[in-house]
């Protein structure tokens, strides 16, 4: 059985469609959809057996056991299947064109993920196949203060402009510890190491940036005040793309998502935040969060952690898989994130691990990847549970999603089907044929090209070229390579 699942996953990886745009137009958003006969895991109102969900205009219009299909509705019969809220990944790096790190500088807040969203990244589709509907796309952790971040819905097939989760707060990535101080990087010889190189330096870098941002804001406010008072002979302040987002942080208009591991550095950032009057919205990874759960809870910050990764570097040695449970028990809003395109395909399983480690209830485990990340991202009024009025972002599994055998059948965003396992499988032969046809077409074109170029070459006069094509040697090498596989 397990083998079969593995095989299925493998198939998804190798045969995944490169561009299944047709699927996104499966059901128009304004066409009502009724999902019926399902076990509905509402998260906030318990589980409903043989339940149905009515979707209208992309929103959940009714949830219960007696919702009826209106005229013209598409009916999805989910007999024996489970519907849960679309999974929310609070820490993702998918759908980004180019590097996720602007790592050249210690403060890279001018860089903005929103500028480089790549709606063609196949990871979006992969993650949909794991039931993920919303992801917090973060800058990397190369800098004490990293780039601006954005929450997206995985609307595969739509242009970049339609990915952002409208109404979600923008964020900014901070990072503490080994990554920003470059502990685990080897620089090429002759390259000057970037400041900072210690945890003290990381703190100093963040403080310095905020001092600068505070002055910048003051300068701007002074200018606006004097200008309003009628002084026309003032030099305007320059706009500074690095400091603007930090001002927004201090004004409470931008969330801080701070990559961190150790308890001491987490407490450090809480002190710095306090000094400059801002809140840390989430501590990301927060592997030693269990040691200072009370302090984190008191600060109002959320904790977005891994299920069971530890000891992969020095600062991860004290990580334990009980972290999510222990923080939850002390009142921290906890989510489990992927930080990885592949991991994101089975966040349901990652959540389930907290039932094994610490004995979280099934519902609380599911919250780790639904309602809790929604709260952390400030979008819990829209997503994270199955309730009337919320966005129809849903994942339909063939089994209870907390089972390792559960496989996503359909994923909906705003009432639109973006992943449909049956359709995916049905589309594969056509896609494969298209691919083979294109390959054959290219091959034919290149052979024709070769044939047309051949008469110009003169084998007698160009011994060099001939030497380049010793068939015996190259074929021999190819054979060895082939054999090696």
């Amino acid at each position: 059985m397990k083998f079969r699942i593995l095989l299925a996953l493998l198939l998804i990886v190798t045969l995944r469609p490169d561009c299944v745009r047709a699927q996104s137009s499966g059901a128009p958003a304004n066409n009502p959809i009724l999902i019926q006969n399902a076990t509905i895991l509402t998260i906030t109102h318990g589980n409903i057996e043989h339940g149905s969900i009515l979707i209208r205009d992309g929103k959940i219009a009714a949830v219960g056991t007696d919702a009826k299909a209106p005229d013209g509705a598409t009916v999805i019969d989910a007999r024996g299947q489970y519907v849960m809220p679309g999974i929310i990944d609070c820490h993702s790096h998918i759908a980004v064109d180019g590097s996720v790190n602007e790592g050249s500088v210690s403060v890279s807040s001018m860089a903005n993920i929103a500028d480089v969203l790549n709606p063609d990244d196949i990871s979006i589709y992969d993650d949909l196949s794991g039931g993920v509907t919303t992801a917090n796309i973060l800058h990397g952790s190369a800098n004490p203060i990293g780039g601006q971040t954005i929450v997206i819905k995985l609307r595969w097939g739509k242009p970049a402009s339609e990915l952002p989760f409208q109404g979600a707060f923008p964020g900014i990535k901070f990072a503490l510890g080994e990554n920003p101080k470059r502990s685990n990087f080897t620089l090429p010889p002759g390259v000057e190491a970037r400041y900072p190189a210690t945890r003290m330096g990381v703190e100093e870098t963040i403080r310095e940036a905020f001092i600068e941002a505070r002055q910048y804001k003051k300068q701007r406010d002074d200018y606006n005040r004097k200008k309003a008072a009628g002084d026309q002979n003032l030099l305007p302040p320059r706009r500074n793309e690095k400091l603007e987002p930090l001002v927004e942080v201090m004004e409470g208009k931008r969330y801080v998502h701070a990559h961190c591991y150790r308890a001491d550095e987490i407490l450090m950032l809480l002190r710095v935040a306090n000094e400059f009057g801002f809140k840390v919205r989430t501590f990301q990874h927060v592997l030693e969060g269990y040691k200072i759960a009370d302090e984190i809870a008191a600060s109002g910050a959320g904790g977005s952690t891994f299920s069971d990764w530890w000891a992969y570097k020095m600062e991860a040695f004290d990580a334990i898989p009980y972290n999510a449970t222990l923080m939850t028990e002390r009142g921290v809003v906890v989510s489990v994130n992927s930080d990885d395109a592949e991991e994101a395909r089975h966040l349901n399983q990652e959540a389930a691990k907290s039932m094994k480690y610490g004995g979280l209830s099934a519902n609380d485990a599911l919250k780790l990847v639904t309602l809790n990340p929604a709260i952390q991202l400030g979008i819990d009024n829209r997503v994270g549970s199955i309730e009337v009025g919320k966005d129809a972002d849903l994942a339909i599994f063939n089994r209870n999603p907390l089972s390792v055998y559960a496989v996503v059948q359909k994923t909906l965003i705003d009432g639109e089907i973006y992943f449909d396992r049956d359709k995916d499988i049905a589309a594969r032969p056509a896609l494969e044929k298209e691919k083979q046809d294109l390959l054959a077409k290219e091959k034919k074109a290149s052979e024709e090209k070769k044939a047309s170029e051949k008469p110009e070459a003169n084998p007698g006069k160009k011994p060099d070229q001939k030497k380049k094509r010793p068939p015996s040697v190259e074929n021999g090498a190819a054979a060895v390579v082939g054999g090696g596989r």
């Binding site: 469609p17 490169d18 561009c19 980004v96 064109d97 180019g98 590097s99 996720v100 790190n101 602007e102 790592g103 050249s104 500088v105 890279s108 001018m110 860089a111 903005n112 993920i113 500028d115 480089v116 790549n118 709606p119 063609d120 800058h139 190369a142 780039g147 242009p159 970049a160 402009s161 620089l187 090429p188 010889p189 002759g190 390259v191 000057e192 970037r194 002979n233 003032l234 030099l235 305007p236 320059r238 706009r239 500074n240 793309e241 690095k242 896609l431 298209e434 691919k435 294109l438 390959l439 077409k441 290219e442 008469p455 110009e456 003169n458 007698g460 006069k461 082939g482």
Partner: protein, 476 residues
């Protein structure tokens, strides 16, 4: 003044004819500064580029400009006459993106152009942020660095190209691109529009030790540069009005040059090849409020309507995507890549259909032959030959802001012409004459150099009569 010139021309014609006859070489009309300045191509088919075709007409060239064009025009007595029977006159072609005239010379220019030109090096100056202006040299102007001995100038011209947009290479702001005509005595003669466009690249330069080292960092940097130039444009007059009250403004070459460019509504070239990049560039052009033209455009077939809605023109690279020559034959190819390679040549047709104005550029293709081969692919993929011609002529000129002086065969336009023995997009067609700024170049098939005797050389004699025929056709 005009009159005196004519006399000299007449003398020059006689001398020129003798030299031409004696030397038997391609004759540069003003090679020594004294070539003929009046020409008439008679009885030729004339494709004006703006849609009209004259089946048999005359183009009169005087002092570098087109003096007259039509079925019945008077040929001035001092004009050299080319019998255009069986020939077609087209506007000279424009290649809107090349480094023609700026041949790459390893390491020769690094120091003169500042840190911008150097690839990220592990030692030396490393940009620590936008204020260090990494890979930025907008004050460079291609016109100032033209090398007229670039062999490709002749190659391009012989193929019917009379004009290029020559773009400096390297860096995020590599410098300003220049519209040049492909003939002249000194580099200054070539330049039509020195500061024609300001190209931008989003290619990061660093490698995590120099800013910026990511695409998003590069875009953020460009945004900051526009912020700064806008600031300068706003601050400078305030300062000038209050020099005794305000601290003086620091000098920053980048923001001053770009502020000036923006004031003059200079065209800014934004990179945008695939659909994602195109939509991104359209958004950034809006945000930055710049007079943008996109370059790349090869996945235009996916987003043509979006481009049309913004009324932003596109320079389409004719270097269609191909599988890398050294690619592992066993490597897995994604369907997306395959589709892109298959459909890229259909972009021009899609752009034309959507009403997007576009022009073509060679974008690194090494011979004009490849350019025509690749245009043919676009035509095969549905682009009307008329539209292809427009893209090479009228539309190219208009996109570059030079439509008032070139791009079509009309009275008063610069006399940039190509004369062929057949349809432009027919592989067999040969270019017979090219006029650049009214300078006449007769194009002959050069005998193959260093070529062994094979069937191709055997073909050579057959071109002989045609050559002498066209020579005979020149005279008064």
């Amino acid at each position: 003044m005009h009159h005196r010139f004519k006399f000299r021309q007449v003398c020059a014609v006689a001398v020129g004819l003798c030299i031409a006859a004696l030397m038997g070489s391609v004759f540069s009309a003003r090679g020594d500064g004294d070539g003929p300045r009046y020409f008439a191509v008679m009885n030729a088919r004339i494709v004006t580029g703006t849609g009209t075709v004259i089946d048999s007409g005359t183009v009169v060239i005087a002092n570098g400009l087109i003096q007259a064009v039509g079925a019945n025009v008077t040929v001035p007595p001092e004009a050299w006459v080319i019998d255009g029977k069986g020939l077609t006159v087209y506007p000279g072609l424009i290649d809107v993106g090349t480094d023609l005239g700026l041949p790459k010379e390893e390491g020769s220019e690094g120091s003169s152009t500042g840190r911008g030109r150097r690839p990220a090096a592990p030692s030396g100056e490393v940009a620590k942020g936008p204020e260090d202006r990494p890979a930025t040299a907008p004050w460079r102007v291609a016109a100032d660095e033209l090398k007229t001995d670039d062999k490709r100038i002749e190659t391009w011209r012989n193929a019917g190209f009379t004009t290029t947009l020559t773009i400096p290479d390297g860096g995020i702001f590599p410098g300003q691109a220049t519209v040049i005509d492909l003939a002249g005595d000194r580099s200054g003669d070539y330049v039509v529009k020195a500061m024609a466009t300001l190209p931008i690249s989003f290619k990061p330069i660093g490698a995590w030790w120099g800013f910026p080292d990511s695409l998003m960092g590069t875009i953020a940097y460009v945004r900051q540069v526009f912020d700064d130039s806008n600031w300068y444009a706003q601050a400078e007059p305030i300062y000038e009005a209050n020099v005794t009250k305000l601290e003086r403004l620091p000098y920053d070459r980048t923001e001053r040059v770009i502020a000036r460019g923006e004031r003059d509504k200079e065209i800014i070239l934004l990179p945008a090849n695939n659909a994602v990049q195109i939509l991104r560039a359209l958004r950034l052009a809006d945000e930055w409020k710049i007079n943008a033209v996109l370059y790349g455009g090869q996945q235009g077939y996916q987003v043509a309507a979006a481009i049309a809605a913004k009324k932003i023109p596109v320079l389409v690279s004719l270097k269609w995507p191909e599988r890398a020559k050294d690619a592992d034959p066993d490597a897995e190819q994604s369907l997306r890549e395959l589709r892109f390679r298959d459909r890229a040549p259909s972009s021009p047709a899609a752009l034309a259909k959507a009403g997007v104005r576009f022009a073509f550029y060679s974008g690194g293709l090494s011979t004009p032959k490849d350019i025509f081969k690749n245009v043919k692919k676009a035509v095969d993929a549905g682009l009307a030959p008329d539209a292809a011609l427009r893209a090479f002529t009228v539309d190219a000129a208009e996109i570059l802001g030079a439509g008032d002086r070139m791009g079509s065969i009309a009275q008063g336009k610069i006399a940039n012409l190509m004369v062929t023995d057949g349809d432009l997009f027919n592989e067999k067609t040969k270019v017979k004459h090219v006029f650049v700024d009214g300078r006449w170049f007769e194009i002959r098939e050069e005998p193959p150099v260093d070529q062994p005797r094979d069937h191709k050389t055997d073909d050579a004699p057959s071109s002989q009569p045609r050559r002498s025929a066209s020579e005979a056709g020149v005279g008064r």
